[in-house]
Chain length 345, copies 2
DNA sequence: GAGAAAAATTGGAACGTTCCATTTATTTCG
DNA sequence: CGAAATAAATGGAACGTTCCAATTTTTCTC
């Protein structure tokens, strides 16, 4: 049934009664080979159970058809969704994308990057792990390999970025809370060494300032950008100031964590305390209470990122214009005393 | 700073004043090379910005250090979690794992498999897409490449499997609902061409039979195994028999979907209708109401799968004993009128 | 300090592909 | 029909590594 030893292009050639060059031509769909010969070769390929050896090919060609995606937290549905969206575009473009998770671990990230490089990927799409050294990707990019950041950027880095308008998102989210009458509003999650953090905190502060509310840095709580981080951050915020009545969360995961802790403290989110998230993951609208969140058009960003990478690869350049996607506040129950119900009716 | 052309082992050799063979030895950490020479070589590697060409190496060695993971739905947090758990084990074993999503699309799956094969992976861990032809992986396995199924198996396939005890899980879930007094219990989600479906439906029927309740096939509703499928399935079930008071769901995603639709119909899950899920994803315990679910020990299964794959690779075999993991019903609010609250207090 | 033994280093062939320059087969047409 | 043009097929070198056998260097022993 199956031959023990791996079949090569030469076995195929022999079987089909042609030269290895002809087989190679067929493999690349060249029009130089006569149709009947081509189909004879294709039959032979099938018969000997030949699998193309991409490694050997790349050795000659020096460019592959795979791009690597490096994601900081696949466990966060937002990133999983993003990865899947990007993957879809590559697929229809005839490229393959392989995915690797870093779990926010820069060391792990380095290993993964190394592996992808060794495999000879032709591009890298990265959502860098928290704690990544700012110049971590400069050398790679300098060597001519296209690198694209998604969602996150590194301070001072010249790597192109696809990301939502973080400042604006945080701004409208905060403004909405202010509009609901809140004055003591916390910002939960993220760390100062993340560029995104500054952008979102910036939007938050700008909204407060615009409303003439004094910014209190004690209300800005650093934490991991996942559910657990959200839980801790809420506790910290409330410990620092029990008067807080609302929070803008770094992302939806943090928001879910915060809501869980609110309940544990006997506070009902959307009633006793207003919560706004960021990302608008699928769960947001189905959660109880439904989570008000800044929608970032995941699919749109993913598509854009994939196309930018395709252009870089095809154009042989490592340069591209940053893309900042528009955001959209989805108002739901979590941020207001039944206001959203009124809207829906 | 960075040289335009890619540095090879020869450039390193020249720079370090040794032969390419020596550099190769250093690269593989051979003890045959004198420590001082080794460090000189390592310095040279750094200086010329050399990246190892795994493709060229594999050409000679005929075995790589990467294993491919093919997942049917990364958007399902359960599978994302599983993938991450598996990845972790490989990492600490010094292997790299690349991940690809098939979105339950057999065609896409075929492409992904092909790519992995071409890259020369040394093993494949697969959660096969719905609709995969039963013999889809036999040829690959026949060619000597270790293949391991996780969570799902294919009918008649000889590929080893790591999965939870689906029959038992469905059995205890259903028995629990019966214990709560329910008699008209639906089974939501999945398709008859999935082996897992039969196992879970089997457990469900066995529990009904054990309680002397007649099985009504109309209460078994086929649907996609995601949230949307759950929504549709609940509607269908209720349409077929409005008397239904409980449902065992194929997985948590389906359960969440069902609960969303219950609410939309004015039925409160855990009060007017009991729901039991399967997988016990992280969200289950935090959802409102908290979801009763069959816990499958994701981390344990993932670890087991990774180790089995490691053994197959190291042992040069494509054979392994199936592993069926124990399950554990996590009773929470979604399935009983305040019973869980009593427990918690 | 010479010879043997051990340690360190090395050149060359091989891996499976692509691509170029050729060769060979086929078609066109004056 | 024969020459020119075109189409199809081919052999060989090259890609960057590993591994073997061989060579050179170092260390040991008496």
């Amino acid at each position: 049934m199956a031959n023990r030893m791996k079949a090569t292009i030469l076995d195929v050639a022999q079987r089909a009664g042609v030269s290895k060059s002809t087989v190679s031509l067929v493999l690349q769909g060249s029009p130089l080979v006569r149709p009947e010969t081509a189909s004879r070769v294709r039959a032979a390929i099938e018969e000997v159970g030949y699998v193309y050896n991409r490694g050997a090919a790349n050795l000659r060609k020096a460019h592959s058809n795979v791009v690597g995606m490096i994601i900081n937290d696949l466990t966060n549905p937002f990133f999983a969704e993003l990865a899947v969206d990007i993957e879809r575009v590559f697929q229809s473009a005839g490229l393959v994308s392989f995915l690797a998770n870093t779990a926010e671990n820069p060391v792990r990230q380095e290993e993964v990057v190394k592996s992808f490089m060794e495999q000879g990927v032709s591009g890298l799409i990265v959502s860098p792990a928290h704690g990544t050294r700012p110049d971590a990707f400069e050398r790679i990019r300098g060597s001519g390999l296209p690198v694209l950041f998604v969602m996150r950027r590194l301070p001072g880095s010249r790597v192109p970025v696809v990301a939502p308008d973080n400042h604006q998102g945080a701004f409208v989210g905060t403004r909405h809370l202010i509009g609901k009458g809140h004055r003591r509003i916390a910002f939960l999650g993220g760390f100062p060494d993340m560029v995104v953090y500054h952008q979102r905190v910036g939007g938050y502060k700008a909204a407060l300032a615009a409303a003439g509310i004094e910014v209190d840095d004690a209300l800005i709580v650093e934490a991991d950008t996942n559910r657990k981080g959200g839980m801790g951050a809420l506790e910290t915020a409330l410990a620092r100031d029990p008067q807080i009545s609302a929070a803008l969360c770094f992302n939806d995961a943090v928001a879910f964590g915060a809501m869980i802790r609110l309940r544990k403290r006997g506070l009902e989110p959307g009633q006793d305390f207003a919560i706004v998230g960021f990302d608008d993951v699928a769960e947001a609208q189905h959660y109880v209470p439904a989570l008000t969140s800044v929608a970032v058009d995941t699919a749109g960003l993913g598509e854009r990122a994939a196309h930018m990478m395709l252009n870089m690869i095809r154009g042989g350049t490592t340069h591209a214009e940053d893309h900042i996607g528009a955001v959209n506040l989805m108002v739901r129950a979590s941020c207001g005393p039944e206001l959203s119900k009124g809207r829906a009716a």
